[in-house]
Symmetry: C2
Subunit: 320 residues, 2 copies
């Protein structure tokens, strides 16, 4: 896993993924007492950065592998990213999703042409085991959500854009806050800014009670979450960091931030009011950390996704 | 008023206004039965395209004129655009606003450092008269919201970007739908695409009961609105088209669209769900026309602004 793979993914993605804007508001800066820039990946195709990794992985396959198809497991955003990338490559896609995933994410994945297989997250069924089993039975290529080199490379293209924009703005010293599940985006961005904007330091952000990566960085070994349900931040709840992603994060990242659900809802509401974008709870963890935790003068937060239903969004608006 | 003024404004604006993204969703396309692209000017600084015209006009002033300051009248978006542009040029700004403008727009204008003077829109007080009077008393430069060459030139920069993106996407034949108040943005975009993407045809979009420009294009002379209050689309309610903007629209625009409030609310909700952006009611008129009225195969709609309060936004979400 290295910067060359990220640059190669950037070439394959060009013209397919959106170059998302880096937003800011003098009102947010005043409220937070620091400069905040938000990388709006919620505006990416399928509503999250996951389209980058999906496109990167699918576009790296051989024609034969594309013909037989791909399989992915995902709580919803990787699902949609892979489904759309597969459809645009003419490849069949099977997506294994938890049955308690947000309905909008399951519906969207089906609407993008994928075959959806549901499993029960609460009863301890392993999505990896289901994915591997179906992949073998049907000769499909498994695209893991984060511990997959071409997926990390795709997510890293977001980091290349952050580095380019930071350099254009003359930002030489800033914290880059990333909503973190298994660490695919976090490690990809860390590799990209190491190469192109080495004054930036990446910090993973996780919800309270699901802070395995924050703890892993503190203890120096991969820690797990005690549970996998019960957070509004469904998009970034994973069992633990990956064997590929953790060493990268350990080498390059600063200490992580742990945010409360209420802080994520408040961040969603402020993004509505001041930046006019829609962020889902898990995608707002980094902005919440930027607003309420990080002590750097300049922060670049990544809003990783925007697939949220109206009920949850109204709950966020109640915090205004 | 010509394309050279727009290109000159684009040079002054570069690095100050945001290059807003052109968004799309396969779900919206399927729903509408056509390709829809949305120019997300709600992501512009101050939450609307008005920052372009404000910056263009303020940046064209002499140092002496900047020192004495500027004055503008506006229901809220031009107010914020001029206020921020003036602050960034170190110029004092007085903004005349209707007292029934959305509270968030009045608050934001004050927070951007402008002196706000309120007037009563319902009782027929003329904002133009108030603006001209204060301008004379205090030697301020009046920046009209639309019938002002440098303002039209600034709004036209949005059209240069639309033309560039359409050309990059290979779109040679499309309707460009623009939410229309006094016609500054509509005429600016029309001039820009005439020069750079002549296969695109601009159509103004207005709310039912406030469709003066649509009627003016039909009759061939400037028609007025019977009333100036009573629409949720406050951002695009103006007495009538301008003496500068109307002849441009008459020469270059196709027939306009009239949309219902309910259609704007539904367009806001679909933009939330499918594009993850926040649009205000008046800023959603063009998307509403794209979804429910226009019959072209390919439509580029401009989402002109996103300054909406939570109560109104929740009302839009109820339509999902």
């Amino acid at each position: 896993m290295n910067i060359d793979m990220i640059r190669a993914a950037a070439k394959r993605i060009e013209g397919h993924a959106r170059r998302t804007p880096l937003l800011s508001s003098p009102f947010l800066d005043e409220l937070a007492g620091k400069r905040i820039f938000l990388k709006a990946e919620c505006l990416q195709h399928t509503g999250s950065f996951k389209f980058r990794g999906g496109w990167s992985a699918v576009s790296a396959l051989t024609d034969n592998a594309l013909k037989t198809g791909v399989i992915a497991y995902s709580s919803g955003n990787h699902a949609q990213g892979v489904a759309l990338a597969a459809r645009e490559h003419g490849a069949p896609a099977v997506i294994v999703m938890p049955q308690d995933a947000p309905a909008v994410k399951i519906e969207n994945t089906k609407a993008l042409g994928a075959e959806v297989v549901l499993y029960d997250r609460a009863n301890g069924e392993s999505r990896e085991a289901i994915g591997i089993k179906i992949a073998q039975e049907r000769n499909l290529t498994l695209i893991r959500p984060y511990d997959e080199p071409e997926v990390i490379a795709g997510q890293g293209t977001c980091g290349l854009e952050i580095a380019q924009d930071a350099n254009a703005l003359g930002i030489t010293d800033a914290d880059v806050l990333v909503c973190c599940g298994g660490g695919g985006l976090t490690s990809g961005i860390a590799l990209a800014v190491e190469a192109d904007a080495p004054g930036l330091k990446v910090h993973p952000c996780e919800p309270e009670g699901f802070d395995d990566v924050v703890r892993s960085l503190a203890t120096g070994k991969i820690e797990s979450n005690a549970q996998l349900t019960g957070s509004i931040c469904d998009a970034i709840i994973t069992p633990q960091a990956g064997d590929l992603t953790f060493p990268i994060m350990q080498r390059l990242c600063g200490a992580g931030h742990v945010v409360k659900d209420e802080e994520c809802l408040r961040a969603m509401a402020l993004a509505f009011e001041r930046l006019r974008i829609v962020i889902e709870p898990g995608g707002a963890a980094a902005l919440a950390a930027a607003l309420f935790h990080d002590t750097s003068d300049t922060v670049i937060a990544v809003a990783t996704g925007g697939n949220v239903d109206a009920t949850m969004f109204k709950r966020a608006l109640e915090t205004l």
